[in-house]
Structures are given as structure tokens and as C-alpha cells.
Amino acid sequence: MTALTMPARRDSGDAAPRPLPWRRMLRVTWRQERFKIAGVAALLVVLAVWLWIAGTSVHHAYAAVLACHPASSPNCQDLASTFNGTWNSVSYWTIFLQLVPALIGAFAGAPVLARELETGTFRFAWTQGFERWRWALAKLVALAVVLAAATFAFSVLVSWCYQPFLGPNNQDLGIYGNSPLVTVFSLREVTFPAWTVATFAVGALAGMLIRRVVPAIVAALAVYAGLAVAAAAFLREHYLTPLVSSDTNVPGTAWIIGQWWTKDGRFAFAGNPPLNLISKCSFPGGGGPGGKGGGPGGPPSSVNPFAQCLAPHGYAEWNSFQPVSRFWPFQWIEGGWLLVLSALLIAVTIWLVHRRVA
């Protein structure tokens, strides 16, 4: 049994002490997390190929509409309805794509600490020479940066794919003109990485607190859902004070927050006119209200046809809205608070790792 009693000689060449720079922890993170990083990359590549194929056909249909003159000719109307038809499928993807930042963030973030605590390997990792708060900081920040970079690249593709539906002149062509402040707003260049990193940070903290991988993933997804709903339903419209206008010609790319009517300068009612007022309006040709530019199969424009017929009765329509020029400020506001939140959550997680008691 000589092999087993081989002596360990102190300070023999290879064993001389060396400093412990941060980059050593980066290499450790890569060794440990490379399969996870590869998994995220593979998922994004598959989705990217699919988006690219789908986006190409959308762009072709859009280019055909743009190139067609005059816009009112039957030929052009056909092209417009072909383009509008693509929206039906594309709008379904939005729901699916919405899950991507949540899933990536939760599956990448929750196991970072929960796996160590669940399998007991924290007893190995936290008793090495690298102090454990540095271990946690390096690992969480490195993963967050990698995720942010990967999801940013993906979000550029998402933006490209949806761009035709967000064009400022779409209304005039009788095709879908959505507000970039609403459609895929949380999947754009700033918000997509920010939501991913925020979910990652929630997952990491949940893993530290719950100490089990699967419940931590579920918790991260639940918190993401809560935050996403809160942002979309309550927070986002208040990022900046909405503009108010009685000009009925609010562009289709604006995000209309509220609508109300005044009669002779006083508030009359909110939303759509009641039936007794609608009966005062008569619409030529088919009877239904069809706004200007609302081509066959196209969406109604934001110009309310009632405004024109009710104006002689003393009624005026008011809109509060966020103009499309606020798209980037809104992106940075949402990205900003999400990144501040992520930084806080990561800081709390590191503090818990530092303080934690086994």
C-alpha cells in the first residue's frame, strides 16, 4: 500500500502560493455552468432560426405592400390583406416569446445556489480559499452578463421580425399599425435582457432562501408573472405623464391610455358614446363605422368616427396617450428599474451567502 501513503510535500514547486484573482472564478463558473450556457444558447438559436424564417416572409409581404401603387387599387388591397393575415400567426408567437425571458432567467438563476445547497456541494465550494461572497458575486454577475448579452442579440431579431407591424405609415396603407409602446414592448432591445436578468436574480435569491431547485424555479416564474402583469397593466402607462389632446387624429403608433368626451367644455362621459348619442350618427355605405384608412381586413384606426358626427352637437373627444417618440425613454425606464431591482436582489443573495449558516 505504498501508493496510498504517498507523502504530500509542502511547498514543492507546484504548491507555491499564487494570488486569487477574479478571473479564476470566471473559469470555474465556465467549467460548472458551460452546459447550462450551451443550453440557453441552443434554445435561442433554434428560436432565432424560426423567427428569421417567419420574419423573412413578414418582411416580403410588407415590402410588397409598400411597393404597390396606388394603394387603393384592388391589387394593393389584396397585398394588404395578405400582410394583415400574417399578423394573426405572428401575434400568437408573442405569447410564446413572452415566456422566453422568464424560462431562461428562472432555469439559469434558481439552480445557482439551490443546487449547491440541495446536493451539499456548498460545503465543498464555501470552504475553499476563495471567499464565498466573492464566489457568489463572480458567479452571479458573470452569468447575468452572459444572459444579458445573449438575450440582447435575440431581442434585436425579435424587433426586426415585428418591425413591419410597427411602421408609422401603416394606417395610410390600410394595414396593421400597432404601437411599439404596447406590442412586444417587453421583448425589445432593453427590456428583453432586463426581464431575463431580473428573473435570473429572483431565481438566485429564491434558490438561496428555498434551498431546492424546482420550488425555486416555480417561485421565480411566479414572481416574474406578477411583475410582468403589474408592469403591463399598471406601471408602464405612468412612466411619463401622458399627453392630452382633443385632436381626434392621434396617430396609430401612439398608445392611447384613456378617452373621454366633453360637451360644451364640461366632462360628459368616458369611453365610447352611449347608444342614444350613437343613434344621432349615420354612416354612409354599409352603416358601420369604418375609420379612414381602415381597409378590408384591416384594423380600425384610432380616429373615432363618432367625433365627426357628434361635434355639431357640442361634443368633443379627448385622448390621453403616450406618443411613439417616447419608445426609447420607456425602454430605458423599464430596463432601468429592472436592472436596479436585479442588482438589489443579487446584493441580498450575496449577503445571505456571506452570512448564511449551515
Binding site: 504517498m6 507523502p7 470555474v28 470552504t127 480559499g129 449558516v357
Partner: protein
């Protein structure tokens, strides 16, 4: 020098004290055994000494008065936890790489040579190794750090007799040849007979007896470590029950 010094050390989980009023000194250059039944507080004491947990009462220092968890203390102490946790999905080579990257001092040549001699293939995943091989890998990673103090929590509890023997032989060789101080816990008494020269006997969260093995045997008139331990553990059990 004492490798571990505790005074009034206590650890509470909720309302239960896992360790109470622990005052002791573990001398350097020895193999010290922490003995006691399951739930005696052995793991709690070791976790406090390696900095995996923080005391609820009292204080503990290591390696001659250094703060637990300080960079110096981390550098000087290698810990092999119960059931030798390893990253099971990573290869042996990856484990070596990680241990080397996370420590100021790591003798890679030693680690490779020892695993070679043990016949542990570096390309194999850690989770695919036998229990004995996993324990040997964990021990190798710990010894390659060239620690002043090696802390082992129930190192051989899950091993078969051959693996147990081989493991303890390595520990003893490191202690004898390199002057590594060893602190190990165990509830199996027989294997400690030939290795331990310093004994700490624990039960129900308290230290019952501590000192050099030969002195303790002489004072208490017991022939072997096993008899001494059994004698004291029985005594404390009865006194706890009758109290």
C-alpha cells in the same frame, strides 16, 4: 499552537441547542477525534470551525487565533464534509481544475499522481466513481491544498472496510509525513483506536471529556478508547435521564 480554540461556543437551531457551552482546545500536530453518538453536535462543531456556520453564542478561532472564515483561515484549513460532496456531473479533471482555481495553494502534480496511483481515471465523471473513490478524490483535493489542518466529518461512515482502511492510511500518512493536524469526527469507535492521539467525547450537544488519549486512559483506568468512550457515554446518558 492550537488549531481550534472554542470558548463558551454554542449553536442554536430554532429553540434547540445543537451545541452548548463548548470550551476546548485542539492541539496542533495531532490526530484528534471527535467522538459521540449521532446528534451529539459533532457536525455542528466542525461546521463552526470551518466557517460554514456562525455561532449563536461564544467564539471560536482557528490556526492559532485566526478568525474563522478569514482568508488565512480558509487557506490553512481543508474540509471534507460528510458524504464527500462533489460536483457529480463534472469529471475528475474538472474537480481538480476547480479546486486548483479556488485556492491560493494547490499541488496539482501531487493530486494527479495520487489519483493515478489509486487508479481513478481523471476523465470519469465524479458521480460515476465508487463511494470509496469519491472519498479518496475528496481527500486528494483537500490534501493537495497543503493545509495546516485537515477537517474530516464522518469520513468513513459510508465506506466498506477496505476503502475505510485505505482512506485512513492516507490520512495517517499525511499527518505523519507532513505534520498536517487532523480533526475528524466519527461515531464508529473501533477505527479510531489506532489513529487518534487526542480525544473529544461529545453527547447531547456538550463536550463530556477532552484530552490526550493515553492520559485519559490512564486517569480513568480503561484499557481501550472504545471502553473509555462507552463508559462515559453510558454515564452521561443515565445522568441526563435521571436529572
Amino acid at each position: 499552537m492550537n488549531v481550534v480554540e472554542a470558548s463558551g461556543l454554542g449553536k442554536r437551531y430554532g429553540r434547540t441547542w445543537a451545541l452548548r457551552e463548548c470550551t476546548l482546545e485542539i492541539p496542533a500536530g495531532r490526530v484528534s477525534a471527535l467522538v459521540g453518538p449521532n446528534g451529539a453536535g459533532k457536525t455542528t462543531l466542525l461546521n463552526l470551525a470551518v466557517g460554514l456556520s456562525a455561532p449563536s453564542a461564544g467564539a471560536v478561532t482557528v490556526l492559532g487565533g485566526r478568525r474563522v472564515g478569514s482568508p488565512d483561515a480558509l487557506d490553512g484549513i481543508a474540509f471534507v464534509a460528510q458524504d464527500t460532496p462533489l460536483y457529480k456531473t463534472l469529471s475528475v479533471a474538472d474537480m481538480i481544475y476547480i479546486a486548483r482555481s479556488l485556492n491560493r495553494r494547490f499541488d496539482q502534480a501531487y493530486a494527479k499522481a495520487r489519483l493515478d496511483e489509486l487508479g481513478i481515471p481523471v476523465k470519469r465523471r465524479a458521480g460515476k466513481l465508487s463511494g470509496g473513490q469519491q472519498a479518496q478524490l475528496a481527500l486528494t483535493l483537500a490534501l493537495a491544498r497543503r493545509p495546516q489542518l485537515l477537517v474530516l466529518d464522518e469520513p468513513v461512515a459510508a465506506l466498506d472496510p477496505v476503502a475505510r482502511h485505505d482512506f485512513m492510511a492516507t490520512v495517517l500518512a499525511a499527518a505523519a509525513a507532513d505534520g498536517v493536524s487532523v480533526l475528524l469526527s466519527s461515531h464508529v469507535l473501533t477505527e479510531l483506536e489506532r489513529v487518534a492521539s487526542h480525544l473529544v467525547l461529545m453527547s447531547r450537544g456538550r463536550v463530556r471529556l477532552a484530552g490526550p488519549v493515553d492520559e485519559l486512559l490512564a486517569t480513568h483506568g480503561q484499557a481501550s478508547l472504545e471502553q473509555l468512550a462507552l463508559h462515559f457515554l453510558r454515564e452521561t446518558e443515565t445522568s441526563e435521564v435521571t436529572r
